[in-house]
């Protein structure tokens, strides 16, 4: 073999080698970029969903694009894996050869995420739909809207269809409350009614046991059960699903990419946790935590698989960090945020978060009976939160924060929460208020005081937001109390006395004046007694009040 032939062999082999090297480097660089989150992962569409993806790429490309960027897509979890339904599921329908349901419930997600399902189902988030029977919902359904359909009273130019259609007064709740709290998902019946989980009575696996009702469900021309538009679309966190499961995973994880990155960011929680009565998102924004987050979010490894505080990041916390995520102090990830909350600041008077076996807040006041009912104490919950805090703060810092927080809650409870509740009860018990809520000014005043300003103040204190604790909080509570609530209550009592209800007026007056003569309210009548020197109370200190 001549040297020229050998040279040609070397040249040829070297070219093939260099070409393969280029290709291998290209693939390797692409793989590393995928890992670093700089390039979308290569997705091999599973055969189970190839038809879905091919068609929806044209019909609704947004869905496919979101899914393509998801961990699900990388792991081979596609359309059918989540939307697949059994033929006897109440919302199932045939769709180009597959039996599917439009609504994916937590029970569907539990096929792969059983632990998460159980944690979430035990949480207050999952029970967010309970708002549907509360005072808040009374406002949206009755006071703001109307619980009964009513006739249109005037024509709407351009919309003649409106003239023949009854006005749906429940829509304020459907579009407002239920979008966060969750709707009770309903299917339309042939006679214009609604079938919900109550009628279906599903068993533990989500299958309806009341089979008789299935025939009454209305279907469209393609055989698709018709979802009631007042209940769907809905991604409320406490959605009450047709299979009996509670909640919606997409409330936080957003279909169809189910991005952990998004769920870790406060903006995601801010869909619901904002506004006048529970502005946690704004509270976070003004706290030192929020300020640090917005400055340093680029360094927080929000795409990390595990996202453990103290290991993957420590620049700042987000809502998820403190209330749900794992940390190096032994705190494991939970989908029940209530596991780390030691006070509930939702009601007019904050309650210690002792919970029973059903994860309900224990309201029993007898100490012995209370102890029997409790399965998870407020102190255990606080210690879990302290695990998070202590990743970045000293024990003394954390304990002193909780002293400040506890003192704040107790001051609110004792000065406004409990007294206000007593006064409203006295007015109602003595007939100075009608049975209907929100038909008298003082009821609105009291609602503003505890539900808006009082909650704001307490939440502000819980998350170290001074402006919400004070100016949007206790300042407005005090202003409402002294300039509106108490004067309005005294007017009511005076009016009752003039109307001949002397005994009732006296009974109420006794409650009010006893409260207003307490030391904490007496500054008005004895201004010299306070202010010059702080009185010495046996107040709680870190060593006495915290562990």
């Amino acid at each position: 073999m001549t040297l020229t032939v050998k040279r040609n062999i070397i040249t040829l082999l070297a070219m093939v080698f260099l070409a393969s090297l280029l290709m291998v480097q290209y693939l390797e660089v692409a793989r590393k970029q995928e890992e670093a989150g700089l390039r979308a992962h290569h997705i091999a569409v599973p055969s189970s969903s190839k038809n879905c993806v091919d068609c929806h790429k044209n019909v609704s490309p947004g869905i496919i694009d979101h899914w393509t960027g998801s961990k699900h897509a990388i792991s081979g979890v596609s359309c059918v894996e989540c939307h697949q339904a059994a033929s006897d599921d109440v919302d199932a329908f045939e769709h180009y050869g597959a039996t599917i349901a439009a609504i994916v419930t937590p029970m569907d997600c539990a096929k792969c995420h059983q632990d998460v399902y159980e944690e979430f189902s035990a949480s207050h988030h999952a029970k967010g739909g309970n708002i549907l029977a509360s005072l808040d919902n009374l406002l949206a359904e009755t006071v703001e809207g109307a619980r009964v359909p009513f006739n249109p009273h005037a024509a709407t130019p351009g919309r003649p269809d409106f003239d023949s259609k009854m006005v749906d007064g429940m829509t304020f709740a459907a579009v407002g409350c239920k979008q966060c709290h969750g709707s009770k998902v309903g299917l339309q019946t042939k006679d214009g009614g609604i079938v919900t989980v109550e009628e279906l009575k599903p068993d533990a696996s989500g299958k309806p046991t009341n089979l008789a009702i299935l025939a009454s469900i209305a279907k469209d021309k393609d055989g698709r059960p018709i979802l009631d538009p007042s209940t769907w679309p809905n991604t409320g966190i406490g959605r009450i699903n047709l299979d009996g499961s509670l909640g919606s995973c997409s409330a936080c994880h957003s279909r169809h990419d189910f991005s952990p990155r998004r769920a870790r960011q406060p903006e995601n929680c801010g869909k619901c946790h904002l506004g006048p009565d529970h502005p946690q998102k704004e509270i976070f924004d003004e706290s030192k935590h929020g300020i640090a987050y917005y400055d340093l979010k680029d360094h927080m490894n929000l795409d990390a698989d595990s996202w453990i505080l103290g290991k993957d990041y420590s620049q700042a916390p987000t809502c998820a960090t403190c209330h749900m995520s794992a940390n190096i102090r032994g705190g494991k990830i939970t989908h029940d945020p209530g596991q780390r909350i030691s006070w509930t600041n939702r009601p007019p008077v904050s309650l210690a978060m002792d919970t029973d076996a059903d994860h309900k807040i224990v309201t029993e006041t007898d100490p012995d009976k209370r102890r029997e009912q409790i399965t998870d104490t407020w102190e255990q919950k606080r210690n879990r939160m302290k695990q998070v805090c202590s990743t970045c703060h000293t024990t003394a810092y954390v304990n002193n924060f909780y002293v400040q927080y506890d003192n704040f809650i107790q001051t609110y409870n004792e000065k406004y929460g409990k007294p206000g509740t007593s006064i409203m009860k006295a007015l109602k018990d003595n007939g100075l208020l009608t049975k209907a809520d929100f038909d008298e000014t003082v009821e609105w005043t009291w609602y503003y005081l505890w539900h808006h300003e009082g909650r704001r103040a307490r939440h502000g204190a819980s998350m170290m937001a001074p402006d919400y604790a004070h100016w949007h909080g206790t300042f407005e509570v005090a202003e409402r109390w002294y300039t509106e609530f108490i004067p309005e209550v005294r007017h009511l009592i005076e009016d009752a006395r003039k109307a001949g209800k002397v005994a009732e007026a006296n009974a109420c007056s006794q409650v009010v004046e006893e409260i207003m003569n307490r030391p904490e309210h007496k500054w008005q009548v004895n201004p010299d007694g306070f202010g010059a020197k702080a009185p010495e109370f046996p107040i709680r200190t870190a060593s006495a009040g915290s562990n």
Binding site: I9, E28, R31
Partner: protein, 349 residues
């Protein structure tokens, strides 16, 4: 005075004539062809690796707690750190590719034949040292893949009969990846192997100088043409052009395809896809095709055959003087290497 030649010559007693004679070793004509200058290419790249490596070492901290963060700091915070890291990363890739190309050239032209068998053995030693330097360097980043790559590498070593367990312990500084592993890798990568490579390169060049470069004469070369040219400055220019071209290529790569950081090492979570660096794809694919010990033993046998090839080839040629078996053997080997590498690159698992 530095300007006084007498002063300098007193202290360094080498005359310019001696120096010129020393450097002006006549270089065979075929070295004017670029593909014959591939021996200098890895040497130039190695020099680059030393310089960039020293710069990186100024910031790198070899411990499980600090390694990843220090690489992140180099990549994101340190001025031109991304560039130096990019040069180092791509320099390693090009150096390994250049060593392989050089070895291919030597193999196919039969330059390993008597009396140069020992220089082939030194070259094989250089190849192994280069691959080990690449492996240990990849592990220093302490990202998920480098951690798991090192763990898998140690487990492969564990499959070697008799000494496997000891090899694994020597590599990891214990039974499992521990707080001493990274510092061990660092010392091997930044001190032991570079010194070994320098010694082997020195030996390699000394042998070449002692034995002279293998001379080739192409069939189309006229008989009366001079058979050699001067090292200085002619061949040095060639090397200089190669060096400058490499710098351009490396800079382009470092800018266009910068070295990224994957997720940090997490011993508790195995990544879905574990792959070593590309130069171990051959071995990795081989290990996936055959069961543990058999694969390790057969790979070991391949390495032994490669070391012993000059003598094996000698034995063949003694029986069949005009045999071109080595060329065919080389073609099959190179195609097999390319095939296994590409196979491993394209499959997900």
């Amino acid at each position: 005075m530095a300007t006084n030649p007498g002063w300098l010559q007193q202290r360094i007693p080498i005359s310019p004539e001696q120096l010129r004679e020393f450097t002006n070793e006549p270089v065979p004509n075929h070295l004017k062809r670029w593909w014959f200058a591939l021996g200098g290419t890895p040497a130039l790249l190695f020099m680059g690796q030393i310089i960039t490596g020293i710069l990186l070492a100024m910031y790198y901290q070899p411990s499980m707690l600090t390694a990843y963060e220090s690489v992140r700091q180099i990549t994101e915070d340190v001025s031109f750190g991304w560039y130096i890291r990019g040069l180092h990363k791509w320099g390693a890739t090009l150096m390994i590719a250049a060593v392989i190309l050089h070895q291919m050239r030597v193999f196919f032209t039969g330059a390993y034949r008597a009396p140069r068998e020992l220089n082939w053995v030194i070259g094989m030693g250089l190849l192994i040292c280069t691959l080990l330097t690449g492996f240990t360097g990849y592990s220093l980043v302490y990202e998920q893949l480098s951690y798991w790559g090192a763990t898998v590498g140690a487990n492969i070593a564990d499959n070697v009969p008799v000494v496997g367990s000891l090899l694994k312990q020597l590599l990891l500084a214990g039974e499992v990846y521990n707080e001493h592993t990274l510092s061990r890798f660092y010392i091997i990568h930044a001190a032991v192997l570079p010194v070994l490579i320098i010694l082997l390169v020195a030996l390699h060049i000394t042998m070449i100088r002692l034995q002279g470069v293998t001379e080739f004469r192409f069939e189309d070369e006229p008989e009366d043409k001079p058979r050699s040219f001067n090292f200085f400055p002619d061949h040095l220019y060639t090397e200089l052009i190669i060096g400058l071209s490499l710098l351009v290529i490396l800079t382009t790569l470092a800018v266009a395809v910068p070295a990224h950081l994957g997720p940090p090492a997490d011993p508790l979570s195995t990544p879905e896809i574990i792959k070593p660096e590309w130069f171990f794809y051959v071995a990795f694919r081989w290990l996936k095709l055959f069961p543990g010990t058999a694969a390790v033993l057969s790979m070991g046998l391949v390495v032994v055959v490669m070391f012993a090839w000059p003598w094996i080839d000698g034995a063949i040629r003694r029986r069949q003087p005009s045999s071109e078996l080595s060329v065919w053997f080389g073609i099959i080997a190179v195609l097999a290497i390319i095939g296994l590498t590409v196979w491993e690159a394209v499959v997900a698992h």
